[in-house]
Amino acid sequence: MSQPEPTPSPAGVIHDIGYRGYDGGRLDRRRIGSALFVHSLRGVFGLGRAGKSKIIPFGLAVVMVLPALIIAVVNVALAGQGVATEPVLQYARYPMVLSAAIAIFVAVQATQAVSLDLRFHSLPLYMSRPLSRADYVRAKYAALTLGLFLLMAMPILIMYVGSLFAEFPIGRETGDVVLALIGAMLYALVLAGIGLVIASLTARRGFGIAGVIAVLTLSYAIVTALQGWVGEMVGDLQTAGWIGLFSPMTLVDGVQVWAFGVETSTPAGPPGGAGPVFLVVTLGVIAVCYAALIGRYRRVRL
């Protein structure tokens, strides 16, 4: 039924349809940042997103955990027979063994964390809150780092539990595990930094993934091939060791070898006295990645 037009009133009328303003307290910047952090961390593992985006994180987590389980079982078996008095594989070497799976994880989740926001222009939604661009970067970096750390820590802890069952000396094993976890944290920081920097350069998810993988696998292949050639053919283990600086995985491996006395997983470990350099470079890489991310997001057009 059509209503006749009301006689026009001199002033407009705003009707009360129950809308209420909010004058109460609001959570501060830190809470917002940590909410973003938690949300991103859940996103790293596909939680809170569509089913399909859980396949890769969970699949890769399984790929990471299974060999650890197998190693733990083998440890127990061998120890039971009295054949082994220490774990088959040192904890700290595990990330290097599964570096391919970790690389895929970083590539996919780094792009999922930052490329999607660039693609669908959802950055204004974040930045129009009392959340600075640096806060955004920090939250994302921390989330991906923690996610990677968890990914690596899970199998390490499983192997540790296996060692406990195998009744290896508890003190030694606990010390090793703690050092391995510190190493895992270093891996996580470096890989997350590199992954995020590359992913934040493009809004296309596929390209970001390809870029991260290209950098990680190519650097690893080149470094290990060079190390193999220089170390064995030319016989110059010193130079071969220095080459290890140029790939993220071998870089952190070098730090572990020097600081924790772990066996090297590369063709040539860091040369004597070079250990501190590896550590400094590692920290430098982390700092540079962080600064690059901050710079990138300061300049990105919303």
């Binding site: 596929g206 390209f207 390809a210 190519l218 292949a221 080149i222 050639w229 030319v234």
Partner: protein
């Protein structure tokens, strides 16, 4: 072959970030060769082994992925392929034109740098040629395979990566039967045939490898054309 499609694809490829990434990869490869040359002498078998790992096994699949998906993936993704599809151009012609761009890019940024790297490191002409032909074969097949994948699915990059890293590196290299299904192995067979004996170990017979390379290339190109014909564009409504 349609010149306009060629031109459009080439412009899109050269103007974007992809060309930066692939040229960086090429530059790094050559820089590496220079570095090795400066450090010391390297024997032919070592050059072969080195480039086999770096170029054939790592560079070519990544290259094929970046370039192969790059020629058609982004267009399908953001829907701008509708401008190509709404013209009376046969779909296989579109595929062929894009493939030409991909292969030319592969030759320019991967095959030539590989040969150059080999020469810089002091390899003989025959080894450099063998590596060039091998990487061309690998690159061409990868390009068309990943282009096909990009038409089939939006997750082409991840699946392609899974193939390259998991199948090629692990299964294809280790499991004997599976080697017959690995592009890398086919390329190795071709390289082995052209290089002096003993430099490269191929695990697949030459005849089989060549057949699979040509057959795979043709089949994938044809299939890509037929899939493009029935490509449905996502609608919002």
């Amino acid at each position: 072959m349609n010149r306009t499609v060629l031109r459009l694809t080439a412009q899109a490829m050269l103007g974007g970030r992809r060309v930066l990434l692939v040229s960086a990869m090429a530059v790094i490869l050559i820089g590496l060769a220079l570095l090795v040359r400066l450090i010391g002498d390297i024997s032919e078998p070592d050059i072969a082994a080195f480039l086999q790992v770096v170029s054939l096994a790592t560079l070519m699949p990544l290259f094929g992925l970046i370039v192969g998906t790059g020629t058609i993936g982004p267009e399908i993704d953001d829907g701008s392929i509708i401008h190509l599809l709404s013209k009376p151009v046969p779909r296989p012609v579109i595929i062929h034109s894009k493939l030409v761009v991909a292969i030319v890019a592969t030759v320019a940024f991967a095959v030539v740098p590989t040969a150059l790297a080999a020469l810089i490191m002091g390899a003989s002409g025959s080894l450099a040629l063998a590596l060039a032909v091998g990487s061309l074969a690998a690159g061409a097949v990868y390009c068309v395979m990943f282009m096909l994948l990009a038409i089939l699915t939006r997750h082409a990059v991840i699946i392609g990566l899974g193939y390259a890293l998991i199948w090629e590196s692990l299964v294809g290299s280790l499991v004997p039967g599976a080697r017959n299904l690995s592009v890398q192995q086919w390329a190795l067979a071709v390289t082995d045939a052209l290089a002096s004996p003993g430099l490269i170990t191929a695990n697949v017979g030459l005849v089989l490898a060549v057949t699979l390379i040509i057959g795979g290339f043709v089949a994938a190109t044809w299939y890509a054309g037929s899939r493009l014909r029935v490509l449905t564009l996502a609608t919002d409504d």
